[in-house]
């Protein structure tokens, strides 16, 4: 779906984060191209969350360089925030607001005008088949719909990149498939997907995958290549191979 000739939207060079003596992320160096679906894997405690927070502009690195959508993570965090979307583990929708109110709020925060918001809302509701639920409180939605809505809200402003932090926890396989359909559609439109997950079958859906162990990137390639490299036939075994000797056990 993507090609290596597409321009890079995430570029890191020896990105490091230290907390006192503890090195959470150690000289991470990689690139992600536009429209790519990039899986960012790692065991608990490997440093995934810290890395993602640096890329989102939430945490200042200790050393190294990184550019998101061409903006520097040290000096241009505001511009980065405008260019990215983010979906957190807790979904981050407001339970006590309705579906359309949530869409309206986030769209407004990202600077969309009222007419734009109106049309975007209609579009989203149609795509997600939530037209009837427009005035339903999010707390009353089933989990799968919440997730799909959360994803859609995270790209309501059509960002260059969207960061997804373990987005599919707790839903049935059918809903997960539907969720990934949404992801594919977004990638087709040119949105770069940066996703972390514990589901190894989802790793197979990505264009490329990186696996972090103890703060370093232990492997980075397409799932096919990784499987070939390790002589294994599924990503779960690859992951197990790399992560089982990990020294750090928890974030």
């Amino acid at each position: 779906m993507s090609s290596t000739t597409a321009p890079p939207v995430i570029v890191t060079d020896k990105l490091t984060k230290r907390f006192g003596q503890f090195v959470a992320c150690n000289e991470l160096t990689f690139q992600v191209s536009k429209g790519e679906i990039f899986g960012f894997l790692g065991a608990n405690g490997a440093g995934k969350t810290t890395a993602m927070r640096m890329l989102c502009g939430l945490l200042k690195p200790s050393s190294g360089k990184a550019a998101i959508a061409g903006f520097d993570v040290y000096t241009q965090t505001e511009k980065i925030k405008r260019s990215i979307g983010y979906m957190s583990q807790k979904f981050s929708l407001y339970d006590d607001l309705t579906v359309s109110e949530n869409i309206r709020f986030y769209a407004g925060i990202y600077g969309m005008s009222i007419p734009q918001i109106k049309s975007k809302t209609a579009q989203l509701l149609q795509e997600l088949e939530l037209e009837k639920e427009a005035k339903t409180l999010v707390s009353d939605l089933p989990l799968g719909w919440k997730q799909k809505l959360s994803f859609s809200v995270s790209i309501v402003h059509e960002p260059d990149i969207v960061f997804l932090d373990e987005p599919t926890g707790g839903v049935d396989p059918v809903t997960r498939r539907q969720f990934w359909d949404l992801i594919y559609h977004a990638a087709d439109r040119g949105v770069t997907i940066f996703v972390t997950t514990h589901y190894m079958d989802e790793a197979e859906y990505c264009n490329r995958v990186s696996i972090m162990v103890d703060g370093v990137i232990a492997a980075l390639d397409s799932p096919t290549n990784l499987k070939q490299q390790f002589g294994l036939d599924n990503m779960e075994d690859v992951f197990y191979q790399l992560a089982r000797n990990a020294k750090r056990k928890a974030d």
């Binding site: 989102c56 502009g57 939430l58 505001e78 925030k81 405008r82 990215i84 983010y86 957190s88 583990q89 807790k90 981050s92 929708l93 407001y94 339970d95 006590d96 607001l97 109110e101 309206r104 709020f105 986030y106 407004g108 925060i109 990202y110 600077g111 960061f163």
Partner: protein, 375 residues
Amino acid sequence: MIKTLYFLLEKEFRQILRNKGILRMLIIAPVIQLILLPLAADYTVKNISIAVVDNDHSTASQRLIAKITSSGYFKLTGYTGSYQAGLSLVENDKADLTLQIPAHFERDLVRENTQKLYVAINAIEGTKANLGGAYLASIITSFNEDIRVDWHTAGSATGSNAPQISIASSNWYNPLMNFNLYIVPAILVSLITAIASMQTAFNIVKEKETGTIEQINVTPLRKMVFITGKMVPFLVLGIILFTLGLLVGWLFYGIVPVGSFLVLYASLLDYLFAMLGLGLLIATYSGTQQQAMSLSFFFINIFNMMSGAFTAVDSMPDWAQAIVSTFPPYHFIRITRMVMLKGSGFADIGPDLAALGAIGLVLNVWAILNYRKTV
């Protein structure tokens, strides 16, 4: 930036208005309390219960007792023959004080020209004890005069031998000594204080706990705008509650502010600025709603007891007064009472207004700096 503030405020108000239970607590409960509680608050010491131990049973002692009971200050709740019985009445809170008239009081007064009366007062509650003792003393003095006039007509000193000074007292600003004028502003301020600081803290910490604040941090929404968006709804709520309070005061207690509404509302804004800052500060130090609640409760309880709402600040030792002068509610209660009852103007409340502004500035700056660092 204004536009993002608009969307933020829209969301905040939607959330607050949708939450019926909270709305009830924020508006209805305070109003009900404001209507009912002033009825409970009255310092006027009346109906002091007295037990008399009369070991004399003479005309004089009867006369004294009659004078006491007809004074309007005292209620005779015991008439016994033994000091022990009288004392046990005080122990069981059936009497606030006892008066013991010794045996042969009347006879010995004539013979020896002087006699003692023994008074024992339950002094746990200082005001009542003081006033009770004072009232009784003045009744005894008056009784003494009566006796002198009756028994000793010749040479009684009503002339140059004993100069007597009397007092002409007048009460300004509240000539009817209406206690509600004093208490209603206090209750109103107490309620607003709780809402402004506690609710703000809670609201922000809730977003911390549920994780939506993480989402907010990733958006281009600036922290200052977010903070403002969080505080404005409670600013509005505070103003609404204050207005409702003034209405209740007028409708139920006939309280009409003597001073100008402009002064009153300007002071309210100054005050809310400080209290919202406190709420924000508490939020930056709390990770869970429970912690926010604990911290808020700590401050609110201290404010309620020490800011002069229900207890007198002037009577506190100097170090305590210094501490109290850093409490925003202290200044605002002073301002409210002065403006509502005496018609004080901007010039008069200047020092308090300035103090509020300074405290508010410190709280808000501290809170914002802390917020930037930790949230």
